[in-house]
């Protein structure tokens, strides 16, 4: 019995880890002109590796759930940035997860460091 419970728990955990957005959709979305006027690529670079200005963050390789969190916070006004507010307004929850999956899966110099 305990073994079954453990197996179920493990499955649930695995499921929750894999419940991520679709990176392929996110890639298209990041370039899309229609969704949020110019898309993410205009400022962050298509892979999220090349911010066009020093105050824009690198997105590539950032944690998936942090990116979801940031976009969601911009969308609901918890985080304030005039540009990001406009960009995130048109995004659905699924869009946000897809974009986060795309940028999180890209390589960059972002890393953990003591």
């Amino acid at each position: 019995m305990t073994r079954i419970v453990f197996a179920l728990l493990a499955l649930a955990l695995a499921g929750s880890v894999q419940a991520r957005g679709n990176a392929a959709n996110g890639k298209e979305l990041a370039k899309a002109e229609g969704k949020a006027s110019k898309g993410c690529a205009a400022c962050h670079g298509e892979q999220g590796t090349k911010p066009s200005l020093p105050d824009q963050p690198v997105l590539a390789g950032q944690h998936y759930d942090y990116l979801v969190r940031a976009l969601t916070d911009y969308k609901n006004g918890r985080r304030n940035n005039a540009i990001m507010k406009g960009m995130s307004a048109a995004l659905s929850k699924q869009d946000i997860e897809d974009l986060a999956a795309w940028f999180a899966s890209q390589k960059s110099n972002l890393h953990d460091q003591r």
Binding site: P54, H63, Y64, N109, L110, H111, D112, Q113
Partner: protein
């Protein structure tokens, strides 16, 4: 008497004008010298990565130095990777936490204790400007 007063006032005005101009020139020279971090928001402050490493990162590494570390409150998600991020973005984030514009209880508390120099130092230590 009136003429004397007038000349005193005129003298003070001229002197302060000259002083302001000298100040401006000095600022310009300082701005030219400063190329580290290239932070438009913090032009007089040069970040010192070594100072950050020796004295200031202790409060960061407990969360940002542990691979896969997650926030505990109020919501659970991975703390962002900050090493390799753009220095100016790091400074702006810390300032926004300090002012309360960006809200995360732990980061608000940490950022509140940081001076502009601390922030520049940490940005110089963790950040890498993207060319």
């Amino acid at each position: 008497m009136a003429r004397f007063l007038f000349s005193v006032v005129l003298g003070v005005m001229l002197a302060s004008g000259a002083f302001a101009q000298e100040k401006k020139a000095r600022k310009k020279a300082a701005a030219k010298q400063e190329q580290v971090a290239a932070a438009p928001q913090a032009q007089e402050i040069v970040g010192d990565a070594k100072a950050a490493h020796d004295r200031k990162i202790a409060m960061c590494i407990g969360c940002h130095g542990i691979p896969g570390y997650k926030t505990a409150f109020p919501d659970v998600y991975h703390v962002p990777k900050i090493a390799g991020q753009q220095p100016v973005y790091i400074i702006n984030a810390l300032k926004a936490y300090k002012s309360g514009e960006r809200s995360h209880p732990s980061m608000r508390g940490i950022a509140a204790s940081l001076t502009d120099q601390d922030m520049a130092d940490l940005a110089a230590y963790y950040g890498t400007p993207v060319k």
